[in-house]
Symmetry: C2
Subunit: 234 residues, 2 copies
Amino acid sequence: MKEGPDIARIAALIGDPARANILTALMSGKALTASELAAEAGVGLPTASSHLRKLEEGGLIALRKSGRHRYFTLSGGEVARVLEALMGLAAGHGHVRSRTGPKDNALRRARVCYNHLAGEMGVEMYQAMRARGFVTDEGGTLTLTQAGERFITGLGVDLATLPRSRAPLCRECLDWSARQSHLAGQLGRALFAQFIANGWARRTEGSRAIRFTPVGETAFARAFGRDGATVSTG
Amino acid sequence: MKEGPDIARIAALIGDPARANILTALMSGKALTASELAAEAGVGLPTASSHLRKLEEGGLIALRKSGRHRYFTLSGGEVARVLEALMGLAAGHGHVRSRTGPKDNALRRARVCYNHLAGEMGVEMYQAMRARGFVTDEGGTLTLTQAGERFITGLGVDLATLPRSRAPLCRECLDWSARQSHLAGQLGRALFAQFIANGWARRTEGSRAIRFTPVGETAFARAFGRDGATVSTG
DNA sequence: TCAATGCTTCGCCCATGATCGAAGCATGAA
DNA sequence: TTCATGCTTCGATCATGGGCGAAGCATTGA
């Protein structure tokens, strides 16, 4: 009967284990080469090449040539959001995934979601910003308030440097592990970049997990912790 | 490298055309039998039976036996939301789907999304309710305000009859055609049921499309139209 | 020009799984 | 009991497509 868009095409693209691994690796937001993705996916180079062509033709990933390297990224935030949503389904229904190793715990705590902070800490941050009125929801679109502007400026983010594109400044993204929304969009991206720049957090090589430094933990708690709001001046 | 949940398993389930058709048919929110779903999917009964078993084992659909019939439904709203998100990806990236027939237009205008109203009219309704302060976003969870309670009571919805379950009363669901959120959750479901009960709208047989009656169009516009807010008392 | 690197294309093998006809097994009706 | 309906299971077929080795092409560097 075929009503609506052809979801089977897209789902089948994501449905191959090798391709799912490739997409998951690209959720780190980094541009990766074909060889790196082959290693991530656990397949040979010819196989990965074939998969990458299909993913590109399907519009899920984008390609940027640079010399004799070819860098691949997710084609946009919408793809990342669908992948997170799928992870939510897989984590929930999927027979309580084998054994949740220590790596999984790190992922649940803090990880990159395409280009912004996700996991418990991402959710905490978003909720704190909502609770303190830094971000409000105006009839369906998230907006950064003046108080919010002052706040993130205090964290060292320069709003003026953000590209004034049509991409929304703030955006919600549903977290697969916490099952609540965290902050995506340009602001989410800028804040995460700032955490890295400030030395609050570091990416983990070859993983989406984010390790916060002791200094970063403290600073994050002061900025976004439950107590933070009341204690800050105390 | 296998980080996070096993999305390939879920995506592969959705990725078969026959299964995708089955899931799409179940987006109507109605419980359908194996034979009906076989017809929807365009495959034989044994094939459909096999698919249904896989979908159920994968946790995407639920089964309710009744006499010698076996009724299938989506296993929950989360599955519906993932399907809608996939439709968004497929509609956007997918080479501008063949020809958007008249049926597609009807779907874009108004359709069922599992159990609530989606499409342009769904988005209009949600935005009107947000704009008038009937529904607000309190730190990440949608809440029905007192004004909102009065409003929907005026439409004939009896809040007291809604099951007091842990399922959220209000919830956003991203619309694949309009690319904006519409109202899901118990409230979305109740409102849609009320439209049907009031005779404002009718389901289209064998389709997710919703046909509003002339009376319904007028009533809907008065209740949720842009002018409605200012004109209502005029 | 020659070599090295990065990736793609080709050809082949092979496993998975989608499909259906026929038979089997329930449930309900006569 | 006997038949009809609704669905599942079995068995066999067959197409799709994932996988890799080898060869080919492009870019860079010497």
